[in-house]
Symmetry: C2
Subunit: 194 residues, 2 copies
């Protein structure tokens, strides 16, 4: 039987994810990746094949964590509007407690645009999933009377998604908490049924 690994693959992946998250794809060297994962050069390549593939796996891992977190937040909401309010609040919270790192997906979109087909496809899939979940919130909110019926659920979803991106970017550039809270407040109020 083979020699066993001396590290936990998920932990290493998480280290790489954090490095890419902080500095972006291009600015993160393979040496940075060794340091961030705690692995030697050989182990990195033996496990993750290449920088590009490691990045895709890190992005994938990030997205999975994001989906999980969002689901947890939405679960404890009282109604549709509250769900969206909680979501925006949790974004702000997360930024404050984790040092204004922004969002890996947002950073990736900004860095790559649509230049890389594989990454574009992965981002598109995540965006679609996020939008679907937000649209479902909107539909629920319209049914329970908390969210305006003047807009299509799809459009509301796009608006909230855009607001989340905006908040993530605000945080990354170092905006103050009150400013971010104000943005979230106005966004939520815009969707409230009146």
């Amino acid at each position: 039987m083979p020699r066993p690994r001396e590290f936990d693959e998920t932990e290493a992946l998480e280290g790489a994810m954090n490095a890419f998250w902080a500095r972006g794809y291009e600015a993160t060297s393979t040496q940075d990746l060794c340091a961030a994962t705690g692995l030697g050069r050989s182990s990195v390549y033996n496990t993750f094949t290449s920088k590009e593939i490691l990045f895709r796996r890190a992005l994938e891992h990030y997205i999975r964590l994001g989906v999980r977190n969002r689901a947890a937040v939405l679960e404890e909401a009282d109604d549709g509007l509250d769900a969206i309010h909680r979501l925006l609040t949790s974004v702000i919270d997360d930024e404050l407690t984790h040092g204004r790192r922004g969002c890996l997906v947002v950073n990736t979109v900004a860095e790559f645009g649509t230049a890389d087909p594989e990454i574009t496809a992965r981002v598109e899939a995540d965006t679609a999933a996020h939008l679907a979940s937000l649209a479902e919130c909107a539909r629920l909110g319209q049914a329970d009377g908390s969210i305006t019926r003047d807009r299509e659920p799809r459009d509301i979803a796009e608006f909230v998604h855009s607001t989340v991106s905006g908040l993530r970017l605000m945080s990354r550039r170092g905006a103050e908490l009150p400013a971010m809270t104000a943005v979230a407040d106005i966004a939520v109020a815009a969707l409230a049924r009146r």
Copy 2:
């Protein structure tokens, strides 16, 4: 008297700006910069000193153009709310006619965060100026009755600024026009006096 230059410095700067805009700072090599400016290696370094300084000048140039464009858009507005509506519409228009490039400042924030003090300061200054101009619009709109008085001008400015960033990011990831229009519509409606 010295030998004169064979190129226009502003044109060269614009070429460099476009390269950084499309690919980001790290992914743009000095060779890319030569191609984008049309200059030889020596001329690039003779004129712009270093990649880092060239980037700062490109960012500066981009910001100046942006300020000029925004001023032109705001000038022809009927009232405060219309100004904000026109601003968001012009962002969408600009993205569609210029190939969904997003915004250099947004991309720069995503790529650098607050890691580089000089760039952070420049972005902060631009953000402050943009916010001030937006807050003035909000104040005007509150005075002429087009914008809600339930919010502070400062907060409205932050909200609009965040929405612009959100739209820019949407466009860069390739979102459809109707989705962007919906976001802008909801944002404008959120600020309307009712």
